[in-house]
Subunit: 417 residues, 2 copies
């Protein structure tokens, strides 16, 4: 971790109350522009489109799409990942249509009237639950992020890829989830004292399954049926998914069909053949559940271009599987000095937080970084520090600091620093 | 306002920790059901759908749509309102595709590269702003409701309409908005001391326009460009709208093209020929800006049916234009006695709050009501009390208590009480 110190670089960061803050963006209104405004654009002279039952975005926004990676191509078009275009988004909530996806055998087309969730194994009263019956249970609503444990593995390529931020770090998203506390269902089934784990299995054709410690299941786990106000999206587990706030994405089992209380973890294919961390001594570490404290600047970010001498707002996302974000610092000198950013949403544990800091780019080469600290005092590690913990082949749990380099020409590039 | 008193009726409300809470919903897992689960459904035996660039909801959810009202029919297919199906939604955020719409001349198809917002009138430095330049200003993210001042006017029909809750009370929604504090733009333009109002004008062909007190513009007003993480939806003002948190919907001018600082209100057609409140003495009251404290139970609600002797969770929405919701009470005896519901999101001012209360329906006739109180101490009025303030012809600002009647047969009906 770098030493925190004050430096002259802080002068490039502006106070929100600063008069210079906004000076570079607006244009003076010329008489010609005023006349043009008065005349009005073409769309002001025609009657607009009619109402729709279920709306869509503007045709001008259609270039904003997920970054899709299909390692098996057309042979398995739903195996791989679709990353969220975080470089084009703002705020905290990820639009459901742009939520990241990680799937092993595509998205099943589940009839919610037929789907059943069963709860069995080491329980006193095995039960089955339809979606209709789940809908009558007490529910809670909470905002939580989901991050694939393989997120940012593309930032481990030998050379830094010159692609948009979402294509590197967008295997994560944040939604408002509504569902039933899993604890309620477990209490109803009557978990036996020897049950220390819970096997969670999905209804996709891969039967994606993971072992979950009972302690987490009884803590803040949810059986979620709504996402951002409406029923779950198919890619997010429609009609029901497990939600283990702050834990690696694949454990939040989608299309949840079965929860089996067990004495020991089941060592499924999904927790042995993959989702283990390779250590420097050649061993694989199993069961790294919690996602580390992390942040990324989304604007400006790689592949963008800045105008010389212009005022910008640095904007980005921070999150931690351990709880709330306490602090996000931004550096414009490659980590020599740091300035605190303003936070939005920091009252929500295990949720994205939006950080922002107004900044004047003075036309010189600059290294932009962000560094998050969570309420447990954990600090996002430097890239070198993170790399030293693992084998070079490890591709999971990369929460290291991201660096964007602004060139003298205003181009923003992805660099390793 | 009813007298708050404790009553035997409270026994029908259950504690969240109650063992009886969940007993009525799950079924015991029979050997046959376990065998069926083991065999798996059809969708578990086929490879699922591939990734999409921009996702859609399940085909099984497509019956959930906005309630569209087009008073001029095909002559003006975008004039009227489309109400949010709140009876089918949960949580706090309204999905953007199901956000309510109130439009006077349809939705314009605006090119964000051509659209300009000008700021002129009684200012030292008139300016024009493109969407690109607005995107470089400091932004904030906040969750706020929007409610048409005509919401719940269908609950003023001579006889209570037997339609879903959203068809009566869904002319409101709640989103996470991201935008530029209007104060920043006004400071840049240099508002002159004599400017006490701001004319806000939209780029629809109706040039919908309203006069806004400068005090509100300098307080918490936003120039919003993002909604629920992505750019505004076309029906919500793409590419830029005014947001006046807590104030009647139509003042939050969509497709914002012009802000003109003025000494007096402009008395536009949209604040004289409509959006005024008819008083008992025949006069019309102008400029009722703030939306009153209000709540509605969304589940169970009219047109639904309950199973006898079953446990439910009463769930609904509460909000106030004056700030935070402090309390929501629920009655199951037509307002004789009240019990406090649990609240989610009450830390957010001028936002929906989700209230919930577990409840056992014992098979008898029951009148369900909710009553919200805000942080200013304002209490949602009873229907009779509200009606007494206005002429019978008034259709705006109906924030009175809503009553759903559960019949002995489990049917839920809309009644006036």
């Amino acid at each position: 971790m770098s030493i925190r110190k004050e430096s002259p670089d802080r002068r490039s960061f502006l106070k929100r109350s600063s008069a210079v803050l906004t000076g570079a963006a607006a244009s003076a209104l010329t008489p010609a522009a005023a006349a043009q405004n008065l005349a009005g654009e073409a769309w002001e002279r025609v009657y607009g489109a009619g109402f729709t039952a279920y709306g869509e975005r503007s045709r001008f926004e259609q270039p904003v799409v997920r970054h899709v990676f299909r390692p098996y191509g057309d042979l398995a078009p739903g195996s791989g990942a679709a990353l969220s275009p975080i470089e084009s988004l703002e705020g905290i909530i990820t639009p459901s249509s742009l939520h990241n996806i990680r799937s092993h055998s595509g998205t099943p087309d589940i009839d919610p009237k037929r789907h059943q969730l069963i709860l069995h194994g080491l329980v006193a009263r095995p039960v089955k639950l339809s979606i209709e019956s789940l809908s009558r249970y007490p529910m809670v609503t909470r905002t939580h992020f989901l991050e694939c444990s393989g997120n940012s593995n593309r930032a481990l390529a030998p050379q830094p890829l010159q692609v948009p931020a979402g294509s590197l770090h967008g295997n994560m998203s944040c939604s408002e989830w509504t569902g039933i506390p899993l604890r309620l269902l477990l209490e109803e089934a009557g978990v036996l004292p020897q049950a220390k784990w819970l096997l969670a299995e999905g209804a996709d054709s891969a039967h994606m399954s993971r072992s979950v410690p009972m302690e987490k299941a009884l803590d803040d786990a949810l059986v979620a049926i709504y996402q951002n106000g409406e029923r779950l999206r198919p890619e997010q587990g429609y009609p029901v998914r497990l939600l283990l706030p702050g834990w690696e994405g694949n454990m939040n089992v989608k299309w949840l069909r079965r929860l089996k209380a067990t004495a020991e973890p089941m060592h499924t294919k999904d927790e042995t053949s993959k989702y283990t961390d390779l250590l420097p001594d050649g061993r694989a570490m199993q069961f790294t559940f919690e996602m580390g404290v992390k942040s990324v600047i989304t604007r400006p970010s790689s592949t963008m271009a800045l105008a010389r001498g212009a005022v910008y707002e640095i904007s980005g996302l921070a999150w931690s599987g351990a709880g709330r974000i306490r602090r996000v610092e931004v550096s414009a000198d490659g980590g020599t000095s740091w300035t605190d950013a303003a936070l939005t949403g920091q009252e929500r544990p295990k949720s994205f937080v939006r950080f922002r800091l107004p900044w004047e780019w003075k036309g010189t080469e600059t290294l932009l970084q962000s560094r998050a600290t969570d309420e447990k005092g954990q600090v996002q590690p430097a890239r070198r520090e993170w790399l030293s913990q693992y084998s070079p082949g490890n591709t999971y749990h990369n929460n290291s600091i991201v660096t964007w380099a602004v060139g003298a020409d205003g181009s923003v590039k992805h660099v390793y620093a």
